[in-house]
């Protein structure tokens, strides 16, 4: 496997999207190729930053109540139709 192929596969390896057999060859290549090994370390670091450091917004407090209320209204309307 050449460096270009390894380079192309890095996101897929990080995303756990490749078969074990491929991962073995991939790791073997990294063990022997400093360039690819450094690059993979960099890619991993980059993805960790994106995954861990992107601030997640949580739903505003009233939203769940608002949704539940509108669901109840919807259910109420359906029940009314059913009994009509």
């Amino acid at each position: 496997m050449d460096c270009q192929r390894i380079h192309e596969s890095m996101f897929l390896v990080s995303d756990n999207e490749l078969e074990d057999e491929f991962i073995i060859v991939f790791r073997e290549h990294l063990d022997c190729c400093t360039g690819c090994s450094n690059r993979f370390e960099y890619v991993t670091q980059l993805l960790t930053i994106v995954r861990k450091r992107c601030h997640r917004v949580t739903a505003p407090e009233g939203l769940e109540i608002r949704i539940r209320r509108s669901l109840h209204r919807l259910r109420g309307a359906a029940t009314d139709e059913g009994s009509a």
């Binding site: 930053i49 994106v50 450091r53 992107c54 997640r56 917004v57 739903a59 539940r68 509108s70 029940t79």
Partner: protein, 208 residues
């Protein structure tokens, strides 16, 4: 509300709320990333919940409920919100979207230099959000679903109604774009803190 509603409801609509409410934060987070404002995000999530409730009997038990809800959210966003905003669909990169192979082959394989790895240390928390917001919509959605929500490529393909290859190329391009933007911010942050050797090198390289 009466408990009689429960009877004779095979699809378990009564359980709908308890099954789906745990995802309200994740859905809101994704809606916020799509619409980039809290008011629209709330409306989107509520609309998605109402739709999901009405079509709950279409949900196939044993499949991923969270992915199903995200799919509805995405469709809600595209059908109502985007129409409202009259943002043309895919206009900005319909022409450049291609296969994963073409995404990768555009790359310069030696584009990554050591100083850039060091630069990542200068990325601040707010930078990630800012960089994500700068991505075009399709890339942003793919990155949010993969990196913030942890969906598999197949699940993302299903949510976005695109082939897995398209997910791969969107993720590839989206992340490379993110990387570029983050490095730009990191350089700016580095300048503000005063030049250290690695930054000086990068600055010198940039000046060329």
């Amino acid at each position: 509300m009466t408990t009689q509603e429960h009877s004779g409801n095979r699809s378990g609509r009564w359980d709908f709320e308890s099954a789906t409410m745990p995802y309200v934060d994740a859905l809101y987070n994704a809606a916020y990333r799509m619409s980039r404002n809290s008011e629209d995000a709330e409306d989107l999530v509520q609309e998605a919940y109402l739709k999901a409730y009405r079509y709950y009997d279409k949900f196939q038990e044993g499949t991923n409920l969270k992915a199903w809800l995200f799919k509805i959210l995405k469709n809600t966003f595209i059908n109502s919100y985007r129409k409202k905003q009259s943002i043309p669909a895919h206009a900005d990169f319909a022409d450049i979207e291609g296969s994963f192979e073409s995404a990768v082959s555009e790359e310069n394989p030696i584009s990554i230099l050591d100083p850039e790895a060091e630069l990542l240390a200068d990325v601040l928390d707010g930078d990630v959000q800012r960089a994500l917001d700068e991505l075009s919509e399709d890339y942003r959605m793919a990155v949010v679903l993969a990196d913030l929500e942890g969906f598999s490529y197949k699940e993302i393909a299903d949510i976005l109604d695109v082939p897995v290859g398209t997910v791969m190329s969107r993720l590839y391009r989206g992340r490379r774009k993110l990387e570029e933007t983050l490095l730009k911010y990191a350089r700016e942050n580095g300048y503000l803190r005063g030049g250290e050797p690695s930054k000086m090198r990068t600055r010198a390289a940039e000046a060329n």
